[in-house]
């Protein structure tokens, strides 16, 4: 198989081949297609459940961290340290009465949360957890994420529109215009990383980086550091996180585009938001922070199998788990920063938001793009550390 993903990971193993043979013999046709579907389905199901858990724990983390920053206790009644609070919230949500305003547009009211969920969940397909345990390494990776996540903007707008409430409508309009505006600097920053990585596939981009921080793209050259900052700010705005939470500004718009949504419908908007934050943090980690790369090549077969002497199959597994650990650590750290920012910075005004996007971030992102392109041309794609080492070595050799 060309693509290195969950299916190829499993189909290399002997039990799979044995099972495939048995089934093919039993059912009288080639069952590898069916097994592919089963593996994909199980993997997708697992990832969706883990992500729902991440979304739930995200709300818990948000409340706990905000409490920490404000010297409060936060949720501490349900379960140890209040860890099961999100489950209690979920039960509460599903028991809530489902109220749809009489003046609302029923069809759009139904479709809006679905669009948000579909847009966010579809991006999970390419999120590179590790080199083997990714659902699929599409050749259009990053660009695909940009494409499907734009469904969320439509969902937020329709959520605001369908409620037929002034606050919701304002929130929806703001949300959609904010999301599309900040997509411009984000896209330009991503293009700069694609220049460095030489591919849209997450595997290519992550593969071009290394495990140690000086091999990450963020520290590749001075422009990429600025590029990361631009990407991070744009990412906050695209996921409607503070200080860009104007679509749901509770002090001015009640709760913004989801004011009229009750119970599970609201829960899906919230879940979509928290999972989207995780996804974009993951994308940031993959693009800038070396993704699933582990320092010293610890996860590679070379070290685990040849040097340490582990047998083939466990070495492969341990390598994958190390990579997942690396990826999740980076993503969760970014997630923490996102929450931290929310409880630190005050909200922007609409005109400040637009000024920041069009007059600061977009020109800076364009400048970065040109800078990265010129850097690659001038120094043949070498990172600044390599250049420093080289000149250092040359100087040492001179004397």
């Amino acid at each position: 198989m060309m693509n290195d993903n969950v299916v190829s990971f499993f189909s290399d193993s002997p039990p799979y081949q044995m099972l495939n043979e048995k089934l093919s013999w039993l059912l009288n046709f080639d069952t590898s297609g069916m097994l592919t579907f089963v593996i994909y389905f199980v993997a997708a199901f697992v990832i969706v459940n883990v992500m729902a858990l991440v979304g739930g724990l995200g709300t818990y983390a948000e409340r706990k961290i905000s409490a920490d920053l404000q010297m409060r206790q936060g949720p501490n009644r349900v379960g140890p340290f209040g860890l099961l609070q999100f489950l209690a919230d979920g039960v509460k949500m599903i028991m809530k009465e489902d109220i749809i305003p009489k003046t609302s547009d029923k069809y759009l009211f139904f479709i809006a949360p679905i669009l948000c969920m579909v847009g966010v969940f579809a991006t999970l397909a390419v999120l590179p957890f590790s080199s083997g345990f990714t659902l699929t390494h599409l050749n259009i990776g990053v660009f695909y994420v940009l494409g499907v996540s734009s469904l969320v903007g439509v969902g937020i707008f329709l959520g605001g529109y369908s409620s037929n409430s002034k606050w919701s409508m304002l929130g929806g309009m703001r949300g959609a215009s904010q999301i599309i505006s900040y997509e411009v600097p984000v896209t330009l920053s991503i293009i700069a990383m694609v220049l460095l990585g030489g591919g849209l596939n997450f595997k290519t981009i992550v593969g071009a980086q290394g495990g140690m921080p000086h091999e990450w793209f963020i520290f590749h050259n001075p422009f990429t550091i600025i590029s990361f900052v631009v990407f991070f700010i744009g990412m906050l705005a695209e996921t409607n996180r503070a200080p860009f939470d104007l679509p749901e500004a509770e002090s001015e718009l009640v709760s913004g585009y989801h004011t009229e949504f009750t119970g599970m419908r609201f829960a899906f908007f919230a879940l979509a938001e928290y999972v989207e934050v995780f996804v974009v943090c993951g994308v940031a980690a993959a693009l800038y922070l070396g993704g699933y790369q582990v320092p010293f090549g610890l996860s590679s077969m070379e070290v685990l199998h040849t040097k340490i002497g582990l047998p083939m199959a466990p070495a492969k597994m341990i390598g994958q788990f190390l990579e997942i650990g690396g990826f999740v650590t980076k993503t969760v750290l970014l997630y923490y920063v996102v929450i931290w920012i929310r409880w630190t910075l005050p909200r922007l005004r609409v005109d400040q938001l637009m000024t920041l996007c069009w007059k600061y971030l977009t020109p800076i992102a364009l400048f970065n793009l040109v800078g990265v392109a010129v850097w690659i041309y001038l120094f043949n794609g070498e990172s600044m550390w390599n250049l420093v080492f080289k000149t250092g070595a040359a100087a040492a050799g001179h004397h």
Partner: protein, 149 residues
Amino acid sequence: MPAYNLDVYMPVVILMVIAIVMVVGALLVGKLLRPHNPTALKEQAYECGEDPVGSAWSNFNVRFYVVSLVFIIFDVEGALMFPVAVIYKKFNGIGQGGLVLASLLLFIGVLVSGIVYCWKKGDLDWVKSFTLESYHHDRDQAQAERKTA
């Protein structure tokens, strides 16, 4: 039978279906658990306790429209730049990087000139500023109109 193996797109479809099933399923299951006794007050749109006056579907400011128009143009530029960005490293490796860089810079240059134009003309301002100059301009025109009338 198409000539390509599309299995890599299977998870995309699976995830989309799971998302839809999740929402619809949770709403259906919830139907068994949740109470249902709507009243006229409950079904009103919540507008801080006030009775809603008129529909929320009213004319919106043109600037939202302008933002999305400008966005589409940038979007298309991005879509055109992605393939060129992908091959840049490869071309640089075989000594053709200057060619790609030149065409990329030209492309971005034209784009930048557009932004500069919009910036100078004040199209990037969210709040169209009310300057003393524009005030005088409007006042003079109004006076001229009154004189002719």
